[in-house]
């Protein structure tokens, strides 16, 4: 991959001009929501419970709570989703969060462990309404007039990988797509359909998404629903979308699951998967589960957007660090 081209003539000046671009972006994002009557909420970063998802690794720290002999473990949030949903249950109305989140184990040109997330929830929005709003916001930030393209997950596999129906395709059919392109994979069982399917998406399809466009990929398989609703007329499909620009995944949105018992069920299933994989057990966010039971989540859609990546695309940075004052290893 190419190294970023930096202006070496006056390094200090170029650093501050880059930070100014970042500041302008944060201001524009806030203005977008303040202008639409969406309230900013500054939810806690530390929480006693955390996300059980096997693919997310929350950082944690120890806090000396008065009256406790031993320090208590608190987790840094991987997204502000849980406290935001509690606020929605309690009647906050439309809300957004713009601030830092933390995910361990990921450091590359496209990731930092600590990164800035924009997450927002809109009451009464369908998945499609929210997709339109995300595309409008991204279009405004990128400002290059690129068209918006909506592509279903199934269509993407048909168009870019030649798999007519990914929902019924076999592991072997997925693997054949990678083999045909000379992409060698190590460590995946031949019959692991979900993983071969994921690899077709990340290794073959993703790089082609959002070329001179804002591409919204929607209707993911239900097994990747996370906390999204499943389509009433098709239990295989989740009401979830992701946004891609120039092959970069920018945002992930859901028509939010409302049923409190379904939350507990998906959390417990995730804990079981953690155990099966030999991962450490984590405490669930009980206040969230209790709030959902007491005062159900209103019908809403929500989305999380990676702000550092948006800045990367807006400014043409090759490394996500270029938009930050300091990366993790320089901090």
């Amino acid at each position: 991959m190419n190294e970023p081209v930096r202006d070496q003539s006056d390094p200090a000046c170029s650093v501050f001009s880059r930070l100014q671009k970042r500041a302008q972006l944060l201001q524009t994002l806030r203005a977008f929501f303040y202008g639409r009557g969406v309230m900013e909420v500054d939810t806690p970063i530390l929480s006693a419970g955390t996300v059980p998802d096997v693919h997310l690794r929350a950082l944690s720290t120890l806090v000396q709570v008065p009256g406790e002999r031993d320090k208590q473990r608190f987790y840094l949030h991987t997204s502000p989703e849980y406290p935001m949903k509690r606020l929605l249950c309690l009647g906050s109305g439309d809300i957004f969060y713009l601030g830092k989140v933390f995910r361990d184990g990921d450091l590359s040109r496209r990731h930092q462990v600590e990164f800035t997330m924009l997450e927002w929830y809109r009451l009464g929005f369908t998945l499609s309404d929210l997709m339109d709003e995300v595309a409008e916001l991204i279009g405004q930030i990128l400002g290059d007039g690129r068209p918006v393209e909506k592509l279903s997950y199934r269509e993407a596999f048909a168009h870019y990988a030649g798999i007519a129906d990914i929902f019924t395709a076999t592991a072997a059919e997925c693997k054949a797509v990678l083999d045909a392109r000379g992409i060698e994979i190590v460590g995946v069982d031949d019959d692991d359909k979900p993983l071969w399917e994921q690899l077709v998406l990340t290794e073959v399809i993703e790089a082609q998404l959002g070329r001179n466009a804002i591409t919204l990929l929607y209707h993911y398989p239900a097994r990747e629903a996370a906390l999204a609703q499943v389509l009433a007329d098709n239990p295989l499909v989740a009401e979830r979308f992701e946004v891609y620009v120039e092959g970069l995944e920018l945002a992930n949105g859901y028509h939010e699951l409302a049923d409190a018992s379904a939350y507990r069920q998906r959390f417990v299933e995730a804990l079981a998967s953690r155990k099966a994989l030999g991962l450490e057990a984590v405490p669930l966010d009980e206040p969230l589960l209790q709030t959902l039971e007491a005062t159900p989540l209103p019908d809403c859609s929500g989305v999380a957007l990676g702000v550092d990546r948006l800045l990367m695309l807006q400014q043409g940075y090759a490394d996500i660090k270029d938009g930050l004052p300091f990366g993790l290893l320089e901090a």
């Binding site: 998802d53 693919h55 450091l107 060698e184 190590v186 460590g187 994921q198 690899l199 990747e224």
Partner: protein, 189 residues
């Protein structure tokens, strides 16, 4: 045998793939928001020099390769083998001429080279980054033309042919960048 897990992957890590020593050139973690993480790895096969790509499921392990870089003095070649010596232990190593075909034109006797050993056997040789060589043949420059940037070819004492400025004469010693095969300056005696 020592192993490395994918979370130890970084540029320069030496590992074994199908018995061949390889070094990581680029390691990118691919982590979809809600999916299994993978390491997309570009690596150089140290035997063939080819750069290839493989994607490892995170958590996979590879065997460590016993590959070390060592500074050895180039002694001589006998047509079939190039002979090197460790200047401290006086251990001698021989490298097949075919294995260093592309760098042999920069080797000067007594120079210290970086020799990569795999299981104690040399597999590649990197000459010093710059070296001083004598011009054994070059056409005379046109009189008065001392700044022409186009230059002219010159044959050096090792047989290498490089572009040199017009003012360089047969018998001059020149400083050469061996990585790019480029003239840097005239060498002071």
């Amino acid at each position: 045998m020592a192993t490395y897990s994918t979370n130890e992957f970084k540029n320069g890590l030496k590992f074994l793939l199908d018995g061949q020593p390889c070094t990581i050139v680029d390691n990118t973690i691919v982590q979809p928001g809600k999916g299994q993480a993978f390491n997309r790895v570009k690596y150089r096969n140290l035997m063939t020099g080819r750069v290839l790509e493989k994607t490892f499921k995170s958590g996979e392990k590879v065997d460590a390769a016993d590959v070390i870089d060592t500074q050895l003095q180039y002694l001589y070649n006998d047509g079939e083998f190039y002979h090197f010596m460790n200047p401290e232990t006086f251990d001698q190593y021989q490298v097949a001429a075919a294995a260093i075909e592309d760098v042999s034109k920069w080797l000067v006797e007594q120079d210290e080279c970086t020799v990569t050993l795999f299981n104690g056997e040399p597999i590649s040789v990197t000459p010093p980054k710059t070296t001083v060589l004598e011009v054994i043949q070059t056409d005379p420059g046109i009189k008065g033309d001392t700044v022409d940037s186009s230059g002219k070819p010159a044959t050096l004492s090792t047989g290498a042919v490089i572009q040199v400025p017009m003012f360089v004469k047969t018998g001059d010693k020149v400083l050469v960048n061996t990585e790019r095969g480029e003239y840097l300056s005239r060498a002071k005696e």
